[in-house]
Every structure is written in structure tokens, then in C-alpha cells.
């Protein structure tokens, strides 16, 4: 795992997410499709680089995103991204790097991340929506978008970011 390069690319992706993606999403869908590119990268780091790297990677970028868009609370994304990076790293250690496993990890991770964020805001009584509404309105559409973005980024990420040979070593052990 080439961490320096990964961090640089994720910073760029974060800028793309905050400044370019809002223009690409049609205006009726702007509060339903809310992609998090650092989340997708965290899952990649968890799969290619292991759980400890993914934990700190998710923590760092989650907190960065929290600070950049500080509305009410600080730390929701820091917490959820770190947790998801660690969990996916933990589960992914024994699996080979299959595309289907990556898609499953992205899908489930996206559901868990948005649910954690929802429940944190619910806990602090900052949102009045019911969970079913949030699920239908935002969480599921965003999950589908995350899966699509992950499919787009998967091949370049695997080619450029993982060190040659490291993938085979891991699947062999």
C-alpha cells in the first residue's frame, strides 16, 4: 500500500466531492445522493492495506470532513469512518481480494456509516426524521451511488495504490 500517494489522491477526491460533485447531481436529488469519496477510499485502504492503516486513515479524513463542514457536531464522520475502516479490515483479512467482496464491503459499509450518522443526530435530537424515511430518502440511494463510484475507482486504485505483489502475498497467507 502506497500510503503517501493514497493520502494525496484522497485529498484531491475530497476536493472533487465538495466542489465538483454538487454540480453534477441533478437539483432534485441533491439531498438524496450524498457521496463520500473518502469513505470509498477508506474501504480500499482496509482491503489493500489492513485494518490499522484503515483505522487511522478513516479517522483522519473523517475528522477533516467534519471540520470543513462544521454545522452542529464534530466527529460523526471521524468516528464512523474509523470504525468502518477497522471492521472491514478485520473481516477482509481472511478473504481474497474479490471484486464481489469489495462491492459487498462498500454496500454494507455505506449502510452502516449513514446509519451511524443518522443515529448520532437522532441521539442529539438534531433530526426529526424517522429511520425508515432516512433509509428510503437518503441512505439507500447514496449506497447505490457509492457502489457505482467504487466500481469506477476500483481498477485504477488497485493498479496504482497497492504495491506490486502485496495482493498475492496476502491472499496466499
Amino acid at each position: 500500500m502506497r500510503m503517501n500517494r493514497t493520502i494525496l489522491i484522497t485529498l484531491l477526491l475530497l476536493l472533487v466531492q465538495t466542489s465538483i460533485l454538487p454540480w453534477l447531481i441533478p437539483s432534485g436529488w441533491s439531498d438524496r445522493l450524498l457521496p463520500h469519496l473518502p469513505f470509498v477510499m477508506t474501504v480500499f485502504v482496509a482491503l489493500f492495506g489492513g485494518r490499522y492503516k484503515a483505522f487511522f486513515f478513516g479517522l483522519g479524513f473523517g475528522l477533516l470532513e467534519d471540520i470543513l463542514f462544521y454545522g452542529e457536531l464534530l466527529g460523526t464522520y471521524g468516528f464512523s469512518l474509523a470504525l468502518i475502516g477497522y471492521l472491514i479490515g478485520l473481516v477482509g483479512e481472511r478473504k481474497s481480494h474479490l471484486l464481489s467482496f469489495m462491492l459487498l464491503a462498500i454496500g454494507l459499509g455505506s449502510l452502516i456509516m449513514d446509519s451511524i450518522v443518522y443515529f448520532v443526530y437522532q441521539l442529539f435530537k438534531l433530526t426529526g426524521d424517522s429511520y425508515l424515511f432516512a433509509l428510503y430518502w437518503q441512505i439507500v440511494p447514496t449506497m447505490l451511488l457509492h457502489v457505482a463510484i467504487a466500481l469506477l475507482l476500483y481498477l485504477p486504485a488497485r493498479r496504482k495504490l497497492s504495491k506490486p505483489g502485496s495482493g498475492e502475498e496476502k491472499s496466499a497467507t
Binding site: 476536493l15 472533487v16 466531492q17 465538495t18 466542489s19 465538483i20 460533485l21 454538487p22 454540480w23 453534477l24 447531481i25 437539483s27 441533491s30 439531498d31 450524498l34 457521496p35 463520500h36 477533516l64 470532513e65 471540520i67 470543513l68 463542514f69 462544521y70 454545522g71 452542529e72 457536531l73 464534530l74 466527529g75 460523526t76 464522520y77 471521524g78 468516528f79 474509523a82 449513514d114 450518522v117 443518522y118 448520532v120 443526530y121 442529539f124 435530537k125 438534531l126 433530526t127 426529526g128 426524521d129 424515511f133 432516512a134 437518503q138 447514496t142
Partner: protein, 274 residues
Amino acid sequence: MIGLILFVSLLGFSYGRTGLTWPERFVNDAVGTVQEALYRPVGAVSDFFRDLGRLSDVYEENEQLRQTVARYTQDKIRYNMIENENKRLQDELHFTERQKQLYDYRYLIAQVIASSSNPYDKTIKINLGSNDGIKPKMAVTTVDGLVGLVSTVSEFTSTVTPISELDSASADAISIAATVLGREDQSFGIVDYDKENKVLQMSKIDENDQVVEGDLIVTSGLGNVLPKGLIIGTVISNQVGDFGLTHTATIEPAAKFDHLNEVFVVVTSDVDAP
């Protein structure tokens, strides 16, 4: 486990805070510079393609604008007369300096540089900060109407909470005192956002108060949070409220909250400062 405790305490600590420490301000400003360089060109390209699609409407729009300008010129003449009259009357009645400057607003043009992807905490960032005299709780509008309030400020950028986040069910609700344009002294209501139906609601309207469909709702300036006379939206319907004592009107917001490009920050003259 320790991580969980740390995070809950961080969440609790950061809740309801308005100031920013210097690392937060630094990160905001550093990233904000690059975001600005990206957001504006992309916005321009996107606007260009949208305009291409609307090219056929241009003639009609031009005609409408011409009529509006003609009406505006007449109104401007009337306004100047009334303003002079008003000044003379204020002088005769010995208004204090504070009262005279109360409704003297300045509009600062700001560029939007980024928008967040947090579904329960949607914020946008603008490229004006405390260096330009921005303070928390200032109103932010577009040419269409009220968009939101400035929530946090760093040196060169600040964060804006849209009025679509002012949910009355949540603990952080800020209520907007509103009134009907043209009947400012008769109508009064409190506006907040209804997330599930994507409309604004104006509640606590007096039952003798005739708020009807098509009325233009503006901020009343009462309560001193927001300036007076910013457009909020138009009334769609009006029905009896929850307890049967007051009426609740549904309002279509005048401003859109996504694909924002240019916004105005309303600066009130700081008469209360020592």
C-alpha cells in the same frame, strides 16, 4: 471502548459551540482556497450548459425584464421621494442616530465554494470570512430570497446553515419571525422548515389574520436575529393549526438551496456595538 467514550465526549463538547479554534480556522481556510478554484469554473460550465437548454426562453424573459425595468424606474422615483420625506420627518421627530441607521443594510457579494454531503447537517461554504466583517448569525440571501444564516466564521471563509436545516422538531431550532409583504403591521408568524414535504411552514398566525394563497412572505425583523424585509417565499395554502387557535400556512421557498453560485451576506450597521 475508549474510542467510543472519546467520541461521545467530542460530540457533546462540539455541540452548540459557535467559535472556532485556530487549527479549525486554518484547515478551513487552506482547503477553502483550493475549493474556490474548483467550484467556480465547474459552476460556470454547468451554468453554461443549463443556459444552452433555456436559450429559447430568452426572448420571453427579455420582454418580461423590460417591463420590470420600466416599473422599477417608476418605483425608484417614488422611492426617492418617499425616502427624502422620511428623512425630513425623522429629523423633525428628532430620531437618534441609532434609530436612523437601524434599517441601513449593506449587501456583500460572496461566492459559494463548496457544499457538504452530510444529510442531517447540510452546510455551504462561502469565500468571505471575519476579515471581510462577517459575523455569525448574519443572513445570507440570493437574488431570489433568503438562503440561510452564517454559522461559523474563520478568517477567509465561513460556513452557512441553510434555512432548510432549521427544523422545528430539532433541538437547535432558530425560528424566523415573518410577515406578509404589504401588511407588515398586521400579519405575524414563525417560519420553520418541514423536511418531509420540502416546504416552509409559517405557524402561530392569528386567526383573524387573512393570509391567503400567493402572499409574499418576508422577514419581519422582529426578534433582531434577521434583518427586515428579506423574501422568504410565497404562500401555497393556509389551514387551521394544531390546536385550532392559530393558523399554519405552507410556504414555497423562494430560493433554491442547491447549485448555488453567488450569494449575498446582509450586513446590518453595527449600531449596538460600543
